[in-house]
């Protein structure tokens, strides 16, 4: 103890000594600079102080709608405006209620909590008055500019998802990939719907990608085609992905007969390690030849998958699947949530986006099931039409839903692995569809 005290005393002595020597020459100038930076502080009485404190409270900011508060945007002042009375008071309260609904769905109902919780919390923070957390200096704005404005985070998520995906079931029965194609009707059907609702073609395309049932793809496309609607699109995409267990089963049942739903599918052939290793490269080469526009998505996905299947870089593939994707998920959620600020989200477009998103999921599911019925007619091996519903992607939720519905109809009928084929094909399918949309508006 004594040693330490001596040490510290010594330090202070040294500091004192040296500082005084130094201070003479240097201090005057430093001070001038500093004072230029700071605002002069005017003495106030206690009551003035209390009333100026009152001016900075959130209660005041919400009550006084006419205080000229500015909105916040990661892009800075050029995108900001004086908030309307509605935006700065009731709008915030509505958004906070929406956020609480999302919390409820995530925690009590278990709907995609990994994404809804960060997104909703980001939304909560973005609606805090005066704090400007979504502005370029705020935490959410910093995150947004770090990885969403440049599409970096969605790609890292895709890389991680690639490292977690097993293409074995698809390789065992490649034909089922076509089901992942049919389900992309969800995208293009809702594109027509959005155009009919009056969205212009570019906005309609951005919205319709919700039908791809794939979060990173939606964010990627929204960012390119309609950045102003990014928040609503991302929230719609993840909300409906979360609602897959609610949306899909009625449609699946309506379009199939009981016999069809009870069809048993054979055991899958074993897949050679080399097939899995080469597959991501094949997908990437094809997409290079046909759709270079979508290669950021497919490239990141293929990299993750290739790293995993190579079997020689487990350190890296583990990191992609765990600490990296987790970190990015936190940031992506918070960043996307920043677009749930009342002034960004509470516009008529958002309502349209929610409606079209629901339409898109339903249409994709339906077309997947119908395609599977068709394939079942012409295929030698029996195909249970339910697995068509998994073509929308929403990996692995929709495959699980298929499996659940299937085993309800016929206990012991495990469709999970058979549904994983169309499921992962759906991811590729929506990336391809995304590339087509991008190429149109290039």
């Amino acid at each position: 103890m004594r040693l330490k005290q001596i040490f510290i005393a010594l330090l202070f002595a040294l500091v004192a000594l040296s500082s005084s020597a130094y201070a003479e020459g240097h201090e005057a100038t430093t001070h001038q600079e500093e004072s230029a930076e700071k605002k002069a502080y005017q003495p106030k009485s206690i009551s003035e102080l209390a009333s100026s404190f009152w001016e900075t409270t959130g209660i005041k900011a919400i009550i006084d709608t006419d205080d000229g508060e500015m909105s916040a945007d990661p892009a800075g002042e050029s995108k900001e405006h004086v908030m309307s009375a509605f935006e700065s008071s009731l709008g915030r309260i509505i958004m906070i209620l929406i956020v609480f609904t999302l919390f409820y769905l995530a925690i009590a109902k278990g709907f995609e909590p990994l994404l809804l919780i960060p997104i909703a919390f980001g939304g909560l923070l973005a609606n805090i008055p005066l704090a400007h957390m979504a502005g370029p200096e705020g935490m959410l704005g910093v995150i947004y500019n770090m990885g969403i404005a440049n599409e970096f985070f969605p790609l890292l998520i895709f890389m991680g998802v690639g490292a977690m995906t097993d293409f074995g079931p698809l390789l065992a029965n490649p034909k089922t990939a076509l089901l992942g194609g049919a389900a992309q009707f969800g995208i293009f059907g809702s594109l027509v719907g959005a155009a009919a609702l009056g969205f212009d073609l570019q906005d309609a395309s951005a919205i319709s990608i919700i039908g791809g049932a794939d979060g990173p793809t939606s964010i990627f496309i929204a960012n390119r085609l309609a950045p102003d609607m990014l928040g609503a699109i991302a929230v719609a995409a993840y909300s409906y992905m979360a609602l897959v267990p609610v949306i899909q089963p009625p449609i699946m049942r309506a379009l199939t007969t009981k016999e069809e739903r009870q069809i048993k599918m054979g055991v899958q052939r074993p897949v050679h390690r080399l097939e899995k290793l080469i597959f991501p490269i094949i997908v990437l080469m094809l997409s290079i030849m046909v759709l270079p526009e979508s290669t950021p998505l497919i490239g990141a996905f293929a990299f993750g998958n290739f790293a995993k299947e190579s079997g020689v870089v487990d350190r890296l593939s583990d990191t992609m699947q765990n600490s990296l994707i987790n970190t990015v998920t936190i940031f992506l959620g918070l960043g996307v949530g920043s677009k749930l600020a009342a002034d960004k989200f509470l516009v008529l477009e958002s309502l349209g986006i929610m409606v079209i998103g629901l339409l898109a999921f339903s249409a994709g599911t339906a077309m997947g099931v119908l395609m599977a019925k068709l394939m079942n007619k012409f295929s030698k091996e029996p195909i249970n039409p339910l697995i068509g519903a998994a073509g929308v992607s929403a990996v692995p939720m929709s495959a699980r839903v298929v499996s659940k519905v299937g085993s309800e109809e016929k206990p012991g009928n495990i469709l999970l692995m058979h549904a994983m084929g169309p499921n992962v094909a759906g991811v590729i399918g929506s990336a391809v569809a995304a590339g087509v949309l991008l190429s149109i508006f290039k």
């Binding site: 097939e275 597959f279 949309l437």
Partner: protein
């Protein structure tokens, strides 16, 4: 939100649908064919005695993990010794 030429946009969107679904199916169709071809080639040139996809990647245990396992074994043992 309402353009003057609504009808036009819907027609355009329908054209996009034809193009889009066409490209998606074409892409996946070619992919299916290439994958089937690949499977045949691999089955032919790489005999089946090659290790097939194992159910669990048991090889996943890296060097660090070995160290950690050593530490865990030690901890487990200690924990049990303390208990008994």
């Amino acid at each position: 939100m309402a353009d003057v030429n609504d009808v036009n946009n819907v027609v355009e969107a329908l054209k996009f649908m034809v193009l889009g679904m066409g490209v998606v199916f074409l892409f996946l169709f070619v992919l299916v064919k290439v994958v089937e071809l690949q499977a045949k080639l691999i089955a032919k040139y790489f005999p089946e005695n090659a290790p097939q996809t194992p159910a669990v990647p048991a090889v996943n245990v890296t060097e660090d993990e070995n160290r950690r396992v050593a530490a865990i074994i030690a901890a487990v043992t200690e924990f049990r010794n303390k208990k008994s």
